[in-house]
Each structure stands twice: as structure tokens, then as C-alpha cells.
Amino acid sequence: MKNGLALFLGAFVILALSWAGLLLTAHQQLGSLSQYKDPTDDVLYPQPLSGVADQGRLVYQDLGCVSCHTQQVRHEGFGSDIERKWGLRGSYARDYIRDNTVFIGQSRLGPDLRNTGSLELHPYADAEYFYKLLYAPHSVAPGTNMPAYTFLFDVHPLAGRQPSDKAISLPGKYAPGAGYEVVPTLRARALVAYLMSLKDPFDYPTERNLNAAAAPAKEGAH
């Protein structure tokens, strides 16, 4: 190769093709996905996040929960995400159009959280459970290596005041001691609102059909 120009053009064309071929094509296909109106109850799915939950998304983002948790349920026949109760079904692209930032993640040091707010799948997962998990992970998951997020909570002396109605109750060993209470900060409350919003309850007929068509092929490939 003697020609600098050929090198430059080649390098340029490769990058342009890869951008157009991969990103632009994907954008064509996915960029205009819209909510789906369920004809039976006239509700649009996926439902948008509430304002608080969307603030919680920012907390999730800045604390880097994505380094240990994925938010993508793999379909039946590819891994055992469904058996682990991480979802009622595999995730679809349409599920994510409500998320301003998409954290599908790539590490499962912790469980998948795409449906962690679904009481149908995890009856125990109420707000109290999430607060306990965040303040003292071992109080609900003994031996886990999920870090404690104590800095999302204020520990107040009661000093004769009425206890706050937001204070969380902790089992003895994890409680801050008599005369103290643990109150989640605004950030903690937003984060928990976000966690509770994490569920994909609706199964879109369009996607389901696509999936049904794809499933036998997958089976055959095994």
C-alpha cells in the first residue's frame, strides 16, 4: 500500500458502512416503536414512569446498580430467566420505550431486575423490603455481597419527638439502637419508587405472535 488516500478512504468507508448498516438500520426498525393500546381496557402499554420513579432512575444510574444487575429477561429456551421468576415472559424492545435511559446491563452478579417490582412474581417485594435491602442487605438476603446504601438514609435520634411515619422497621441486629430511627432520604424514596415501577405485566399480541413463530426454530437449533 503506497497510497495514503486509499487508506483514508478505506477507513472512512468502513466506519460509514458500519454506522449506516448497524445503527441507522436499527433506528429505522426501532425508532418509531409506539405504545400499544390494549383493546380490552383501553390502556396504553408500556405505561410511562411516574415523575418520582423517573428521578429514581437517575439514582439507579448514578449509583451504578447496572454493574451488578441486568434488566433484560431472556426468552424461554435461552437460559432459565423465566424459571427464576425474573419475568412472566422474555423482554421485548417495546417494553423499553418508556425508559429514558435503558439499563439492560451485562453483568449478573445480582439477579435480573426487569420485573423486580412485580408483586405477582415476588409477593415479598414491597417498599419495606426494598428499603431494608438498601439499608442493610443482610437483613433480607443473608450473606449477599450487595453493598449497603446507608448513605441513602438518615439516622435520627428520636429525642422525645414523634417517630417519623417514613421510618423503616429493622430486625434487632440491624436496628440503629433504642432512641434512634432510620428514615429514607428523598433519593432513597425515589429509587424505591423506580424499583417498584419495574415490571412488564402486559404481553403485546404483536410481539407474542412473532415469538411463537420464532420459538420452534429455536427449539430445532438446540
Binding site: M1, K2, N3, G4, L7, F8, A11, F12, I14, L15, S18, W19, L22, L23, A26, H27, Q29, L30, G31, L33, Y60, Q61, D62, L63, G64, C65, S67, C68, Q72, R74, F78, G79, S80, E83, R84, S91, A93, Y96, I97, D99, N100, T101, V102, I104, Q106, S107, L109, G110, P111, P137, P142, G143, T144, N145, M146, P147, A148, T150, F151, A221
Partner: protein, 488 residues
């Protein structure tokens, strides 16, 4: 004959002299980041088996320290080292001195301030949580401005070259220098400036991450291998005529392989299929490059004994082949079904970045710095320590993370195993990883000490002056001569 050799030598010395300070500044910053990033990485690793370690403070929580470590290593160590090596090699191969080097100091300042601010941003709650783009948006322009000065300089040097042929290392360097700013700017725009919707974000992110590893770090490492092997062994690259084919094939397919990171993800299936096909096609250039490089080494393995640079480059080539094999394996559905999302995924990228790229930069530093400073490495024990710990660390971590990922994947796929039990099993492997990282850190400290001795004007007083043996070290036909053979 002798006089042309001498001419070539003076010329090289002139070029080296012109490159001295910019290269030293970039290498110096790189090594400091290597230590800082390694320390952060160790903290994050310890937190996985001892979660109470530095917990309780938002700045040091795992979810921030881990990406901060990764960014310090990639943008601090990796990019700075690549700049140092790339600038030096571009000048040498273009047979032109480095002009207006002062701008490069400004560029280095910009770049390093950008990385520092970016890391503080990650630790101080401004992380974006996009892989390898966690640094907050405001540093983008600082980094791009710094890069522009470096990139423009590299391209200018290339275009005023005094050589007729363009050698393989130059293709790789030129390509990398061109691709990085585009990948980075496009990813920034599509993810942070004007974010695309929904799962397009992970698609863009995967495209960027794969591009950064495959179109920046791997090309720079290969540029080193293609340069140092013939240079030190004193013989041309074996089957050089195939190198151009391998180059275009490698970069052309790598550019489309990013989708392989999204197997089973909620994106259209063609994206991961295209990635898998690209990874299959990559077998050809990887084999050709291995033929080029191992072919050059064949029969001369004894030379590894006497050249620390060659030894590091040898590890780097092995790392390249292994990383490519891993990439291919991970894009196959059956394998991905088990090891996706496990420590094995970390291993794939670590092999590229550490086993392939970082080792190449170590090798390059051991070659370049004595020539720039005119001094010897003061402590051979430290040099040996560095190589030994690197080799040991690479073997330990590769074997350990592969085994760990395999086990983790099988446990994750067995829905009867409670999650707590998986964590318990992994605790052993996390501890193992911490030990591996400590081993590497020892080597990096040895490297730092030697670097200070050779590069710092005050400290280097007691360091002996370097004397370069004639062949096969310096009087070598410049690789451009080898290039002619391929392009008759």
C-alpha cells in the same frame, strides 16, 4: 553500506530527540493512571468478597468505583500509552521529526484534565451508566479537543512522510487514529446529546464498546507487533504480502461485530446474528496475522531470552489470538446461553485490553524509553519482576475468570439454586481475582520505579548510559524495506 547505516541512525536519533518530551509526558501520565486505575480496580474487587470494605460512603460504593477503575484504565492508561507509542512510531516510520511538539503538551494537559474530571464525575454522582461512556457529558468536549490536537498531529506527520512505502504498522495506527474520534463522537451524540430511544441505546453502546476495543486497542497493539518483531529480529515479516489483506479484512469485519454483544437481548435478532457472522469471518485475518507474526518468530524463539520487548510482544500476540477465540465463542448461542452475563464476559474484554494491548505497550516502553533518554533501565530485577508478574497475572486471571464464569453460568441457569448460594460460590473467585490483581499491581509498581529512574532528570543521575548493540538492535533495515517485498 556502513555509512548509509550510520545515516539512518543519526536520522533516527534526531527523530527520537524530537519526540522525547511528548512521549515521556504521555508515558508518564499513562503509568500514573495505570497505578491509580489498578488501585481502584483492586478496591472494587475486594468489595465483592468483603462488601463492608469502604462501604457506607457514596464516593466509594462498588457501582461507582468499578466504572471509575475501568475508565481510569481505558482512558487514562490505555489512551495515553497509545498516544505515546503511536506518536513515536508514526514519526519513525514516516522518517520525519516531530514538529511543534509543544502543542502535544497542551493536548496531554487537556486529555488528562478531562479524564480526571470524568472520574471525579463518576465518583461524585454524575455517572451516565453507559459502559465505557460513564464519564459525564461535560468532559466530552475537553477530551475531543485534546484528542484533536494529537490526532491532527499524527495525520500531519503521516502526510509529510519521507518514505515511499506505507508499512503495516502505519495502516493500523492511521486507522485507529481516524476511527476513535468518530466512534466516540457518534456514541456521545446518540447516547447523551440527543439520546436515541429505547433499546437503540444498548445497540449504540455495544457498537461503541466493540469499536473501541476492536478498532482502537487491537490495531495499536498490532502496530507494535508488526514493528518490533522485524526490528528486533532483523528479518522481514513472514508472508508480508498477506498483511494488507488481513488488515482490511480484520477492520472491515470488526466494524460489524459489535452486535454479537447483544445475543438474547431485546433487540432484533439480525443484530446479534450479523455480529456472530462477522466474528466467524474474523477467523481468516486472525489466522493470517498469526502466520505473519509467529512465522517471523519461528526459529528465532531464543531471541525472546535477550529482549524484554520481544517477550512482552510475544504475550501480546498470544493475547490477541486468545481474545479473538473468546470473542467468537461468546457470539455462539449455545455458549452464550451459559456464560453470558458472567465473569467470562469481563474476561473477553480484559484479554483484549490487558493481555493483548497493555502488554504490547509495556514492550514498546522498554524499547523506546532507553532510546529517548539515552539511559539504561537501572534495575534489571525490576524489569524481570514486571515481566514475571504480568505473565503470571495473565495466566492466573485468564484461567480463574474462565473457570469462574463457566461455573457461575451453570449455577445461574439452574433455577433451583438460590441466588445467595451463587454469591457464596463466587466469593472464592472474587478473592482469587483480588490476588491476581495484586500480582499485576506489583509489576506495575516495579515499572513505575524504573520509569522514574530513567525519565526524571534529577532521579536518573545514577542511571548508567545506554549503549545499543549494533545488529540486531538498531542498524536494522527499516521495516519499510520489508514492505517493499510485499509490494513489488
Amino acid at each position: 553500506m556502513n555509512s548509509t547505516d550510520n545515516n539512518a541512525r543519526t536520522e533516527q536519533m534526531e527523530i527520537d530527540a524530537s519526540a522525547k518530551w511528548p512521549v515521556l509526558v504521555f508515558f508518564g501520565s499513562a503509568i500514573l493512571w495505570l497505578i491509580a486505575g489498578g488501585a481502584l480496580q483492586l478496591i472494587a474487587s475486594i468489595q465483592l468478597h468483603t462488601p463492608s470494605f469502604l462501604a457506607g460512603c457514596a464516593w466509594t460504593t462498588y457501582g461507582r468505583v468499578a466504572p471509575a477503575a475501568q475508565n481510569a484504565l481505558i482512558y487514562g492508561w490505555g489512551m495515553n500509552a497509545a498516544f505515546a507509542f503511536g506518536l513515536w512510531l508514526m514519526a519513525r516510520l514516516s522518517a520525519t521529526t516531530l514538529r511543534h511538539g509543544g502543542w502535544l503538551f497542551v493536548a496531554a494537559k487537556f486529555w488528562n484534565i478531562g479524564v480526571t474530571l470524568g472520574l471525579l464525575g463518576i465518583l461524585g454522582r454524575f455517572s451516565t451508566s453507559f459502559e465505557l461512556l460513564e464519564m459525564p457529558r461535560f468532559v466530552t468536549l475537553i477530551l475531543l479537543a485534546g484528542y484533536a490536537m494529537i490526532g491532527v498531529w499524527a495525520v500531519t506527520t503521516f502526510s509529510i512522510r519521507n518514505t515511499e512505502n506505507v508499512y503495516a504498522s502505519q495502516w493500523y495506527l492511521f486507522g485507529a487514529a481516524f476511527w476513535f474520534p468518530w466512534l466516540y463522537a457518534i456514541a456521545q451524540i446518540m447516547l447523551l446529546k440527543a439520546p436515541v430511544r429505547g433499546v437503540l441505546q444498548p445497540v449504540v453502546n455495544a457498537w461503541y464498546v466493540h469499536g473501541l476495543y476492536g478498532l482502537w486497542f487491537i490495531p495499536v497493539a498490532l502496530a507494535a507487533a508488526y514493528y518490533f518483531l522485524p526490528k528486533i529480529l532483523g528479518k522481514p515479516i513472514a508472508n508480508y504480502y498477506l498483511a494488507a489483506l488481513a488488515f482490511w479484512w480484520l477492520v472491515g469485519t470488526t466494524a460489524f461485530a459489535g452486535g454479537s454483544r447483544l445475543i438474547g437481548a431485546p433487540v432484533p435478532v439480525w443484530i446479534s446474528t450479523l455480529g456472530a457472522v462477522a466474528n466467524f469471518l474474523l477467523v481468516v485475518p486472525v489466522v493470517v496475522i498469526a502466520l505473519n507474526l509467529f512465522g517471523t518468530l519461528s526459529g528465532r524463539y531464543s531471541a525472546l531470552q535477550s529482549s524484554i520487548t520481544l517477550r512482552f510482544i510475544f504475550v501480546s500476540i498470544l493475547g490477541f489470538v486468545l481474545a479473538s477465540a473468546f470473542n467468537l465463542a461468546l457470539s455462539m448461542r449455545g455458549f452464550a446461553q451459559v456464560v453470558q452475563f458472567t465473569l467470562m464476559t469481563d474476561l473477553r474484554d480484559w484479554l483484549i485490553f490487558y493481555a493483548c494491548f497493555s502488554t504490547a505497550m509495556f514492550g514498546a516502553a522498554y524499547f523506546i524509553l532507553p532510546r529517548l533518554t539515552g539511559k539504561e533501565w537501572r534495575s534489571t530485577i525490576l524489569v524481570k519482576t514486571h515481566f514475571f508478574t504480568t505473565a503470571l497475572g495473565v495466566v492466573l486471571l485468564t484461567a480463574g475468570l474462565a473457570a469462574a464464569g463457566w461455573q457461575q453460568g451453570h449455577l445461574l441457569n439452574d433455577a433451583t439454586v438460590p441466588f445467595g448460594d451463587i454469591t457464596k460460590v463466587l466469593t472464592f473467585w472474587f478473592t482469587f481475582r483480588s490476588i491476581g490483581l495484586i500480582v499485576l499491581l506489583i509489576g506495575h509498581l516495579a515499572f513505575l520505579i524504573n520509569f522514574v529512574w530513567i525519565a526524571c532528570p534529577l532521579n536518573s543521575r545514577g542511571t548508567p548510559l545506554a549503549s545499543f548493540h549494533q545488529p540486531p538492535d538498531l542498524s536494522l533495515p527499516n521495516p519499510a524495506k520489508a514492505a517493499t517485498e510485499g509490494h513489488a
